[in-house]
């Protein structure tokens, strides 16, 4: 028991665990919509775009959250509009816009050398650097996004399932898409410091896919994915302390391991079900 409680005597660890649990749950929650829209790559792309915004904020001496947030939101909106108004597919639009934004960041770093230390933190996450203020910001964003999903649950579900049909039934889909882009950008910005640009995509996709394997109900998938994200955030942080491995990578590895386990169990269950006599509805 003492061994389990040992890391919690350190403030940096307590802040880190809290941040990892919140970010894990947040990514799990929003990841459901990402996965079901077939836009798993957007997490990867947008986090790179936000990296460009983070560098611009640093160079211009703006507040990180405001600069990177605005940049990420504009990138998400630009991707959305490009897909809706042109013949360019989502994957290509994400590839062009986010890579160009990332390139802006890299170009600025090569021009202003002072960013090198923060560059590593942005790419790979820096859980040790999570302050009390960061925890407050992450908590605020988490509460805001949960409120958005709670009050727009029906509209988001219908738009994710059949956007064009939802419009016919009176859902203001363009507004809902914009709201979602804003929520996604906010989630990615607060996740960047914990997981880093390179690992955010995994934290968005893996809990959601794991939850999908376990349920055929949308509401249950949302709940399972959020719980899986938070639980793996906690386990990953704890494990990273004991085995002395980067926290972001450990969290993603724990998520991948649980996904592998769930995939194996559900595959075996399906095989067993196929052997039973088939019943028609």
């Amino acid at each position: 028991m003492d061994l389990f409680l040992e890391p919690f005597q350190f403030e940096f660890f307590r802040n880190g665990v809290l941040a990892a649990v919140l970010v894990g749950g947040l990514c799990g929650l929003i990841g459901v919509y990402i996965v079901l829209r077939g836009m798993s790559y957007i997490g990867h792309g947008l986090s790179h775009a936000i990296f460009g915004g983070a560098v611009v904020s640093f160079v211009m001496a703006w507040n990180f959250y405001i600069g990177a947030g605005l940049w990420g939101f504009l990138a998400a909106l630009l991707i959305n509009q490009t897909v809706q108004r042109t013949k360019i597919n989502a994957d290509a639009a994400i590839g062009i816009i986010t890579t160009a934004s990332f390139a802006v960041g890299v170009a600025l770093i090569s021009r202003y050398r002072g960013f090198t230390r923060s560059f590593d933190a942005a790419l790979f996450g820096n859980i040790l650097g999570v302050t009390q203020q960061d925890v407050w910001v992450i908590s605020g964003v988490t509460i805001l996004i949960i409120a958005v999903i709670f009050f727009f649950y029906k509209q988001l579900l219908f738009t994710t399932f059949e956007a064009e049909v939802a419009q016919v039934y009176g859902v203001k889909t363009a507004w809902i898409e914009t709201l979602f882009a804003l929520a996604l950008a906010a989630a990615l910005i607060v996740s960047m410091q914990i997981l880093g640009v390179t690992l955010i995509a995994a934290a968005l996709v893996i809990p959601a896919i794991t939850a999908r394997l376990l349920t055929d109900s949308f509401s249950r998938m949302l709940l399972l994915s959020t719980v899986a994200g938070s639980a793996t955030g906690f386990l990953g942080m704890l494990l990273s302390f004991y085995i002395d491995v980067a926290s972001g990578a450990t969290i993603v590895l724990v998520q991948a391991a649980i996904f592998g386990l769930v995939l194996t169990i559900t595959s075996l269950q399906k095989q067993a079900a196929r052997r039973l006599p088939h019943t028609h509805l």
Partner: protein, 284 residues
């Protein structure tokens, strides 16, 4: 009588290519109509114009006497093509049907007691109430069609619009769906469908609109499904056969005897086409 849908000289195209030209159309309350025509004739585009997801480039659309601007002011129950549905999406039958209540939905994510009551009533009406908790992928084609019809009905629509409800389902299911629509129409529902199944339209739908970029003809199928009109609509030779009060549409067979295609129902007699007795054999 005030038309529920009125299109005046509506023209629409994609990228400079006209898809619909000078469409004049009226659909009155209580009418049951089918849009028929070949692929690319503009049927789905015309539906999207009526549903307000596309805007006409010229002309005007009026719904219940009011000009359509953006989203429809009418309550529309829309059933999309089954082929367009993501069957792996994690939703149960109840979750799909409750989407139809979105305009009346409260602030909370869960459905209200009234929504649940109405959903149950519609599911019972369509005889799929026992499937409420099933995933949509686990149903037969006919049951899937009923689920999306239930979603449309639970919206308490003024107008029911179905995009190819007979496509992708077997002949018996298609017939059941059209029977169901005919029953709903008898209860007063205004219905507009698109279909490729001319024979089903002739048997179940009292009004047809033959479309191929423009409206070639509209009226009761018995009157407008003729060799001449359908050949013009489909840009190919079509045979219309009338027998015992029924109407059958058949493409001109290539390289077969006509008996291969139309077995002689009465020994020694073949049904007559619009242009007189059919030849015993048809060659290319």
């Amino acid at each position: 009588m005030q038309a529920l849908i009125e299109l005046k000289e509506v023209t629409f195209g994609y990228g400079g290519q006209p898809v619909l030209e000078a469409i004049d159309l009226h659909l009155h309350p209580g009418q049951f109509a089918a849009l028929v025509g070949p692929s690319g004739a503009g049927k789905s585009t015309l539906l999207k114009l009526i549903l307000g997801t596309l805007q006409p480039q010229r002309g005007a659309i009026y719904l219940d006497g009011r000009a359509l601007a953006g989203q429809s002011s009418l309550r529309v129950g829309y059933v999309p093509q089954l082929e367009a549905i993501d069957w792996n999406f994690p939703v149960t039958v109840a979750e799909v049907v409750l989407m139809g209540r979105i305009q009346r939905a409260g602030l909370w994510p869960w459905p209200g007691a009234d929504d649940r009551r109405r959903m149950l009533r519609v599911l019972q009406q369509l005889e799929i109430d026992h499937l409420a908790k099933h995933h949509i992928r686990d149903l037969s084609g006919g049951q899937q069609q009923r689920v999306f019809l239930a979603r449309a009905l639970v919206a308490e629509p003024d107008l029911l619009v179905l995009d190819e409800p007979t496509t992708g389902v077997d002949m018996r299911t298609a017939e059941n769906v059209l029977h169901l629509l005919a029953e709903l129409n008898q209860q007063g529902m205004t219905i507009l469908i698109t279909t490729h199944d001319l024979n089903a339209a002739a048997a179940h739908v009292p009004w047809a609109v033959c479309l191929n970029r423009r409206i070639v003809a509209q009226g009761p199928p018995w009157q407008i499904f003729t060799d001449a009109i359908l050949s013009e609509v489909y840009q190919g030779e079509m045979l219309v056969i009338r027998q015992d009060g029924m109407l059958f549409v058949q493409q001109k067979p290539h390289g077969h005897t006509l008996r291969d295609v139309l077995p002689d129902p009465v020994p020694g007699h073949l049904p007559e086409s619009e242009n007189g007795p059919l030849p015993r054999t048809v060659s290319v």
